[in-house]
Symmetry: C2
Subunit: 318 residues, 2 copies
């Protein structure tokens, strides 16, 4: 059994996870992201030691502790370099935890952890697996031969900041035309609002009760399913943007599997089938390839972070 | 010692290469790309057997034969799936060669082989190394932990077909806005011609003797070095396009090293320094990363294909 810890801006979630990736017990605490670093670290350590000594672990030895953070890290030093909006910059978290336990501690990026968990839940353990999460931005994790592609300081997999439209929409990262400015859920909501403003007769306007602030990632999809022409064009354009980035990833990696996650993936085949059709037409030399990249949706939801963190020992090795 | 074979549209080059990647002896024959498949295969086998029995290999056992092809392959069956403009589609080349020798035979994509060779010549053997070749198109090879990222049927690394300008220039692959339509040497020549047509007073027009057909990949760079303002703007725009794709690759892989190759890489620091400056400003969260991706030029030139093919046994393993 292993412990997986998923450090997020709102909460720190931790779980005791068996060797097959099944959560036996889990607990969450508020992060208190803007508190003093030592206060945040102390709560994380308390949470971990509580799990180690909990009845759920009593009859089993915890073999490793894995931690996912929304940021960059130095694996060799076990140090967090930066951690999103959480006040844990330049904190030697592994070192601090090792003061309290001899159990090995592994650190990685949270999106990489989630991808690792999704990979473990693939029956056929593909040589190359990519998880794409469409959310506020676009996150990604790349698993090669069962190991996370971490890159320098865990920065690999920032696929949302792949420019697909040079000199296009400005992105917070400082570049123009990043994929996430077109294909994240944030982008979809913006595209939906623009379409409603330009076409107040659209069913979408009814669904939001005429209040733009009620627009969410489902608005266009819900109206499109009811045949609203404006909504259909919003969804088609949005799926086009997703597909442009997906085909880029296929041409770069030619992976066995790409799994699309985030709340939007609940749209299922309504989302997936047009992407698959686009890929069949647009992937480089796809007509000559007998084995195409399989596109699917992710399986694990919010638990992926805990599960993946608990499995880090497999990916990183000793 | 190993034999490396680089199958190209014009010639088949083969060499005896020592375990350090040094070519001991090499020979080239015309490919005769449109001949019957069995004639092309026969010549390749004759070339290989000639090398095996040559005086240069006499005192040494050839341990493996590696073959690079400009196309896709099935490693498990040792079969070429498609091979650019060469009539070797669906040919079980490994099987054919094994009729004549017991030496293990490895097959891979030629751009991957060239990248492997460049990697071997890196002193520090980076965990993640990417070779980018700017030529007629843009080719790439990705080396992770000393092994080629092949992808399904060797199709990984088609980085030239990463869209950077959705709904931009049409590409032969069927998509719009592929990187190679902006940053290949072909693209540079088109951009140079357009600038000359619009600005006949440019020094570039003098350098080509007023004949657009004399334009090549050096025209804009040569005139820019002499201070021609129009040429400077062509070069700046071209370097911008290269940089957009390079930063995409850094954000996806955060590799230790990216090496830029192709004839244009002879421009050296004049090409490389502005790309490095762009990356320093534009890479995702670069300010928080202590270790940046190192950008350099390739070292091996045309021999990279032979050397890399000869080293395939290292990358693929038994």
């Amino acid at each position: 059994m292993n412990i997986g810890v998923d450090i997020g801006g709102m909460s720190v979630k931790a779980g005791i996870v068996d060797d097959y990736g099944k959560i036996i017990y889990k607990k969450a605490i508020p992060t208190g992201a803007s508190r003093k670093s030592y206060e945040i670290v102390k709560d994380i350590i308390n949470l971990i030691t509580e799990l180690i000594s909990s009845p759920h672990a009593k009859n089993n030895t915890i073999s490793s502790i894995g931690i996912g953070i929304p940021g960059a890290f130095d694996q060799s030093e076990g140090k967090i370099i930066e951690c999103g909006n959480i006040n844990l910059k330049n904190i030697p978290l592994t070192y601090e935890i090792k003061k309290y336990t001899d159990i090995p501690v592994y650190l990685n990026n949270d999106a990489n952890c989630a991808a690792l968990a999704e990979y473990i839940y693939c029956n056929d353990k593909p040589d190359c697996f990519i998880a794409v999460t469409l959310g506020t931005g676009i996150g990604g994790g790349i698993i090669l031969d069962g190991r996370i592609l971490s890159g320098i300081n865990g920065f690999a997999g920032e696929i949302g900041h792949m420019v697909i439209s040079e000199s296009g929409n400005h992105c917070n990262c400082g570049r123009d035309g990043c994929w996430e400015t077109y294909a994240s859920v944030t982008a979809l909501i913006n595209q939906t609002k623009e379409a409603i403003l330009a076409n107040p007769q659209s069913l979408m306007n009814t669904l939001i009760n005429g209040e733009l602030k009620n627009t969410n990632g489902k608005t266009a999809f819900d109206a499109a399913k009811q045949g609203d022409a404006i909504a259909i064009s919003v969804v088609e354009k949005y799926i086009h943007y997703i597909s442009v980035g997906i085909v880029n990833l296929i041409n770069i990696f030619r992976p066995n599997v790409i799994a699309i996650g985030g709340a939007i993936s609940k749209e299922g085949d309504f989302l997936l089938n047009p992407i698959i059709n686009y890929c069949n037409k647009k992937v480089y030399a796809s007509s000559t390839s007998e084995n195409k990249t399989k596109l699917t949706t992710t399986k694990l939801g919010n638990d992926a972070g805990i599960i993946g963190a608990s499995l880090l020992y497999r990916s990183i090795g000793e």
